[in-house]
């Protein structure tokens, strides 16, 4: 349903306000939001890439370090997009200033776009920091910038949405760390960040194909080095479908006031 006023400048200004607020929030607390990712990923690059990578040898003819940089960058995009929205929106609820948005004539779409947009920007900023850090260890090439940017942005959007949904259902600070720790992290690590699934036994390879993050990591990696374990069209169709699904879910939750209104 198209809401009256969505196209209006009023909603657009409200969206900008939320987005600006969200972006300034994570920049203001950058030692918590940007720095940790830069440090952890520099360590990954140092240990797995520069030190062990020499012994591991190339994958698909690509130096191991270059092979893992895209995966590590996308891992940061995923966790940062997710955690930005889940913690910001949960604390908005927890501190009750969500009430400012509910009493104001802001449409559900503007609220959603503002928070998810904030998560996307955080994901991309941290992703860029990680790629820049990698520049100290290796000479990165970019094979397909369009694929890279599109997959990076879509992945950020998907996980920002997931973080939003998590925040809506969350009733405690525990609830906002369960999904990232017990669902997201395993899926990311098993999503082919550090290896090609061709190196796996066949049964495990089959199981891995059921992990959506595998498709995103591979498509994103294709943007850098031009090789992928999966088909690009499949990867984009999958992420598009998932985004539509979560977007609808998040919108319905907001519309109903789930976890917000009594």
């Amino acid at each position: 349903m198209r809401k009256r006023g969505w196209s209006g400048t009023g909603q657009w200004i409200a969206l900008q306000t939320i987005l600006f607020k969200e972006i300034s929030r994570f920049f203001r607390i950058w030692p918590q939001t940007i720095l940790p990712a830069a440090v952890t990923n520099a360590l990954y690059l140092l240990i797995f890439g520069a030190l062990m990578g020499r012994r591991i040898g190339p994958i698909h003819g690509i130096a191991y370090l270059d092979y893992i940089v895209p995966g590590i960058a996308l891992m940061s995009v995923i966790t940062n997009a997710y955690s930005n929205v889940v913690s910001s929106f949960y604390s908005t609820k927890f501190q009750r200033h969500i009430e400012e948005l509910i009493t104001a004539p802001v449409s559900e779409w503007a609220v959603l776009a503002g928070y998810v947009g904030g998560g996307v920007v955080r994901g991309l900023v941290v992703g860029a920091v990680v790629v820049a850090t990698a520049g100290f260890f290796t000479q990165l090439q970019v094979a397909h910038a369009g694929v890279l940017l599109a997959m990076g942005t879509l992945t950020a959007a998907l996980f920002a949405l997931a973080g939003f949904i998590n925040a809506v259902y969350a009733n405690s600070f525990d609830d906002i760390s369960i999904v990232p720790n017990f669902v997201l992290t395993p899926l990311v690590y098993l999503g082919g960040v550090f290896y090609s699934i061709e190196l796996l036994p066949s049964w495990w390879r089959t199981v891995s194909m059921g992990n959506p993050i595998l498709y995103m990591v591979n498509a994103f990696r294709y943007g850098f080095v031009g090789v992928s374990d999966v088909r690009l069209d499949v990867a984009f169709a999958l992420i598009g479908g998932l985004i539509v699904l979560l977007l609808t879910w998040a919108y319905v939750l907001l519309r109903r006031g789930t976890g917000i209104k009594s």
């Binding site: 409200a14 607020k21 908005t92 009750r96 400012e100 009493t103 004539p105 209104k261 009594s262």
Partner: protein, 313 residues
């Protein structure tokens, strides 16, 4: 046109608690309206429904002619809300809270800065604009919420206990400020437990108790009904028994204090004379509770009795 129109408004919370049991209310534009009632009566529930924070169970709400179900956005634009409890971001700077609020109402950023300055100056918080809001005192937080509520020039300003925990001086300047807001044409609805405040500010009053409106009339009319004045008398010598004095209801608070209800015919003078006749000397006299307070207490006591016997329909 009415600033607020409620028709058979009902709310049952998830725990099956019936907070509003069919409220009808009509508040004309330009009114200064007091919504009173004891703790748990349903005042905040009513206000939260009007400002979209709580979903109603049934009934109709119209704000400045806009139906809340059909025209929610337009209705929201008309309302400025000062909630009972602090609900701004405690880690945000004072100015940003007001500026962002303007943004949520679609006011462009540059204009938002101008308005935020105006509103913060009006409530004497401009000096604090760069302070993180957590560091404000309780009274300042309330004033910040008033500034925030006014930034989009609402036609209807709703304040849920705005003066709770505010010192006397600021309370009086807040009253003056609210009067001036009302004079400029904004309808004001206020809840408070300070009846003196309602008596001072409001021209119309509704009392809600156990989710029902039990009184809804003009302040003057209501006050005229409370004929007797209450006084507290300080005695020179202690007394052990309540003196019985015809025409006056006298209660003993302690050995040195009496509370007397004085009807208009007899006056305070008559009371003094009769007390003196019994050898009781009065050293000092204080005006007791306000007339509204007396009315209120009587009413709530009555309605409590009714509920106790289960006679309430």
């Amino acid at each position: 046109m009415s600033a607020l129109l409620l028709r058979d408004l009902r709310k049952t919370y998830g725990n099956r608690l019936e907070a509003l049991k069919g409220v009808d209310l009509e508040i004309p534009e330009g009114e200064f309206f007091a919504l009173l009632g004891p703790n748990g009566a349903g005042k905040s529930t009513l206000i939260s429904i009007v400002s979209s924070l709580v979903n109603k169970t049934s009934g109709r709400v119209e704000v400045c002619g806009f139906d809340l179900d059909r025209d929610r956005e337009a209705a929201k634009r008309c309302i400025g809300l000062v909630p009972q409890e602090v609900n701004f971001n405690q880690f945000e700077k004072v100015a940003n809270i007001v500026i962002n609020q303007a943004g949520y109402y679609g006011i462009p950023r540059r204009e938002a800065f101008v308005r935020a300055e105006r509103c913060l100056r009006q409530v004497d918080l401009w000096d604090k604009r760069n302070v993180v809001s957590r560091q404000l005192s309780g009274g300042m937080k309330r004033r910040l919420m008033i500034a925030r509520a006014l930034v989009h020039d609402p036609r209807l300003l709703i304040l849920d206990e705005p003066t709770a925990g505010v010192d006397i001086e600021i309370r009086h300047s807040m009253w003056e400020f609210l009067r001036s807001v009302n004079r400029r044409g904004t309808t004001v609805i206020l809840t408070t437990h300070y009846l003196e405040e309602a008596e001072n500010l409001c021209r119309h009053i509704a009392i809600i108790d156990h989710g029902r409106i039990v009184v809804n009339r003009r302040m003057q009319e209501l006050l005229a009904e409370v004929q007797t004045q209450r006084y507290t008398l300080e005695l020179k010598h202690p007394i052990s028994q309540v003196p019985i004095i015809e025409d006056y209801a006298v209660e003993r608070e302690d050995a040195y204090t009496l509370i007397a209800e004085v009807p208009p015919e007899g006056g305070v003078h008559g009371l003094f004379t009769r007390l003196a006749a019994q050898g009781i000397e009065v050293q000092g006299i204080r005006n007791g509770s306000s007339r509204l307070e007396q009315y209120f207490m009587r009413l709530i006591a009555e309605s409590g009795d009714r509920d106790g016997t289960g006679a309430a329909a």
